[in-house]
């Protein structure tokens, strides 16, 4: 009983250490990187015009330009400049 208990504790401890170590890698080792996405626009059916009235400036993944609301921004998902009036299949409404 005691041996099983100790064994279970060891397993739990190893698992917890493994998970926490993995979780800590981004914090400890790696620098914070840019927020913009890296996926190909074509893989997400990106278009420069709205789709059924939906457009990127209403999407939770859209990162607007600091210059003006009408300027091209970027996106957490796809790479490159993104039109606030654009759309892709990952669209997720802010509302």
């Amino acid at each position: 009983m005691s041996s099983n208990f100790n064994c279970r504790r060891q397993v739990l401890k190893r698992g917890a250490i493994a998970l926490l170590s993995l979780a800590a890698i981004p914090i400890v080792v790696l620098p914070q990187n840019a927020h913009a996405g890296s996926a190909a626009k074509s893989d997400f059916h990106y278009q420069n015009s709205p789709h059924d009235g939906k457009h990127c400036s209403e999407c939770t993944a859209f990162l607007p330009s600091s210059q003006s609301q009408n300027s091209e921004g970027t996106c957490r998902i796809v790479a490159g400049p993104v039109s606030p009036l654009g759309w892709c299949m990952a669209f997720s409404s802010k509302g």
């Binding site: 990187n33 059916h45 957490r76 299949m89």
Partner: protein, 438 residues
Amino acid sequence: MHFFALKWSRHLLIIIVATISVSSAAPANAVPAFARQTGLECTSCHVSWPELTPTGRQFKLNGYTLGERQSFPLAGMLQLSRTSTAKANPANAGDFPRDGDVVVQQASVFVAGKISDHVGAFTQWTYDGIDHRASIDNVDLRYANRIDIAKQALIYGFTLHNNPTVQDVFNTGPAWGFPFGSSSVAIAPNASTAIESLGQQVAGTGAYALWANTLYGEFSSYRTADREFSLLRTGTDRSSDAALKGNNPYLRLALQHEWDDGAQSAMIGAYRLSVDRYPDNTNTTGPIDRFRDVGVDAQYQYITDRHRISMQINTIRETQDWMASTQSNPSDVLREIRGKIGYYYDRKYGANLGYFSIKGNSDATLYNTGAADTGSVSGSPNSSGYILELDYLPKRDVRLMLQYTEYTKFNGAKFNYDGFGRDARNNNTLYLLAWLMF
């Protein structure tokens, strides 16, 4: 009858109250790690989790790296369930553990998400509320990158995982196929293929590529998760873990097409896994048993905000060469087919209908265990049936599921399959699940 209904109502109430309590206790921004990373809501990547949409498949193929890296890429999962078997056998209560009880089926912690620009992880640590045991669950570590060839994107990557098909992006294979949630205490048919029986016991290393969002290919190799790979089976029951000889190849090819701006997608694919397994996992020398699984699968999805239709079919043919074990036959064959069609309205109300069948030649040594409830007096592995499932997602991270499994055949027969008078229909199961992600 009234008592049965009252008992179910009470348990239903307990599960719903517990669900709402836990859900309400979570902070407003407590969403799964991937959703926090991408900023997308769950239903962008999932038809209903865990089934992936084309966006979800892209996220996985890109190595879980899309979006903003989180300082604490943690998430949690809780499953509360109640299983009711049509006719439990009081004489063999051990075959029906916790039948009729509300149980914490699983509680999981995930470390999941972007680690660097090209490296991401999906790792799960699970507490099993039935066995009261905590162990590693599904793991998929990835490196992914993209190059453009002739104006077409080629996504390529490498994966280290611990469950065959957990790395696959389609919801046809054993790891992510329907049913997405099921009872862990109900009696199950005693025949299963190798590819669905190696989870959390093996280390899989592989390379994959998707060209022009159309042609997908993967090659992986599986070996026993020991030595430097032992972390991939941490906490599992070593006495029953598989011991494989050397490296065991897995090949996967699929053709997919998306149209209607990604609202519709279809895939047809095939895969092959060869496994050489020692019959005694404590003796990794000498002869092995050889399993060859060949699968053909297909999938179609129609996804809009209002209507979602999803269909999958998967077939596996397995040849088993008993070169080390002593069975009734020198070799056996299993043929498995699973299919499902599902519909979701408003991403909230869903219904799924599934069919399953596993057939093969009789092998008395292999399947006729002589046990009541779980045995097969004919030595036949044949089982088949239907699954009807209703889903309700009151919130994007809460799923209530009512699932009914009906067996038309169990372990070789419709009636008296175990030789002790038990019929296939006695194993029909009503299963209620409250599934929370946070």
